[in-house]
């Protein structure tokens, strides 16, 4: 009985720090949190250019994440927040830049390359097909083929 009580006391004592370590409940609305993360994922960090500002720990990225949070808190729409960033840092901050005259090649490039590849492939295949076109043998060719076959047969029988 005493042992059980001791064990229980030990369990409580051991568990207590566990409770203490629990993360404090965030006051943020989970929907706002999700919006903030989504926006941060779509914006490029200009300091470490191959990371989004969600991934980067550069100071600027931290500041920009704070900006996003503040603007969401102020009731700004996603569109307005993205526009805020683009007005300051240009289309370069967007991982999905808008389609316009200066980005036409960027968006159309892959399609253009696909079209060129298809055209080249088609032409190569056509050329190859033309070379292997089947046509009946001429009498001359048939005679030659038969002569060769007969020679081969005679060779085999002789050996």
């Amino acid at each position: 009985m005493r042992l059980a009580a001791l064990l229980a006391a030990a369990a409580v004592a051991l568990a207590a720090p566990g409770f203490a370590k629990d993360a404090p409940p965030t006051e943020r609305d989970p929907i706002e949190q999700a919006r903030s993360v989504k926006l941060a994922n779509e914006l490029r960090c200009l300091v470490c250019q191959n990371q989004s500002i969600a991934e980067s720990n550069a100071e600027l990225a931290v500041d920009l994440r704070r900006q996003i949070d503040e603007q969401i808190g102020a009731g700004k729409s996603d569109r307005e927040i993205v526009d805020f960033m683009v007005a300051r840092y240009g289309d370069f901050v967007l991982y999905r830049p808008p389609l316009k005259a200066t980005t036409l090649l960027l968006w159309g490039g892959p399609l253009l390359l696909l079209a060129i590849g298809t055209l080249v492939g088609w032409r190569v295949l056509r050329g190859r097909q033309a070379k292997t076109d089947e046509r009946p043998l001429t009498d001359e060719e048939r005679g030659e083929a038969e002569r060769l076959l007969a020679a081969a047969r005679a060779n085999r029988e002789g050996a």
């Binding site: 200009l46 300091v47 250019q49 600027l60 500041d63 683009v86 007005a87 300051r88 840092y89």
Partner: protein
């Protein structure tokens, strides 16, 4: 002969692309702010923390806004250039002390010389964000109407001063 023309042409084009690519600096992102009005700001001065300074105080003047910090290594590199430019007395330079501790900022200017008309403190970097600052140092040339005319990303060199900033300052000074 004909067989080699197309692959050679493709190769030449590829080479041209790669060559141009080599000479581009991916860290220099063209600012959308050039040609637009400089963002409004009002900040406390580094040397007179009780006094404020706003973009309006420079209205009607051609001026430079130089973003600097005592923790910024490249700023040391450009600093002598700015000190010389200030001595020439052709264009006032305002310093934006970006995300710096005021004491360290002041000590830094004491050590290396102060080319600034005055410096303002942007301790949390908000004005920096408004100016699209992503790497210190950055320098903006602002005209009499308060429009940004030129932006230098990275240290200002003597070459940039002589070839870009000074000619543009002279031109902008002529405008009313």
């Amino acid at each position: 002969m004909n067989k080699f023309v197309i692959p050679l042409a493709v190769f030449a084009i590829l080479l041209a692309f790669l060559f141009v690519g080599l000479s581009l600096n991916p860290r220099e992102v063209p600012s959308p702010l050039v040609g637009k009005a400089a963002p409004a700001f009002q900040l406390a001065q580094l040397h007179k923390p009780d006094a404020a300074f706003s973009h309006k105080d420079m209205a009607g003047k051609v001026w430079l806004l130089n973003v600097w910090a005592s923790w910024c290594v490249a700023c040391r590199e450009e600093h002598p250039v700015l000190v010389d430019l200030a001595k020439a007395n052709v264009v006032p330079i305002v310093g934006l002390n970006y995300k710096d501790k005021p004491d360290e900022g002041r000590a830094w200017l004491k050590q290396f010389g102060d080319p600034y008309l005055l410096s303002v403190m942007d301790r949390d970097g908000r004005v920096g964000i408004d100016f699209g600052v992503y790497g210190v140092p950055e320098t903006f040339l602002i005209d009499k109407q308060g429009v940004i005319r030129f932006k230098q990303i990275g240290p200002v060199t003597r070459d940039v001063v002589n070839k870009k900033i000074l000619p543009l300052v002279r031109e902008l000074e002529k405008q009313s």
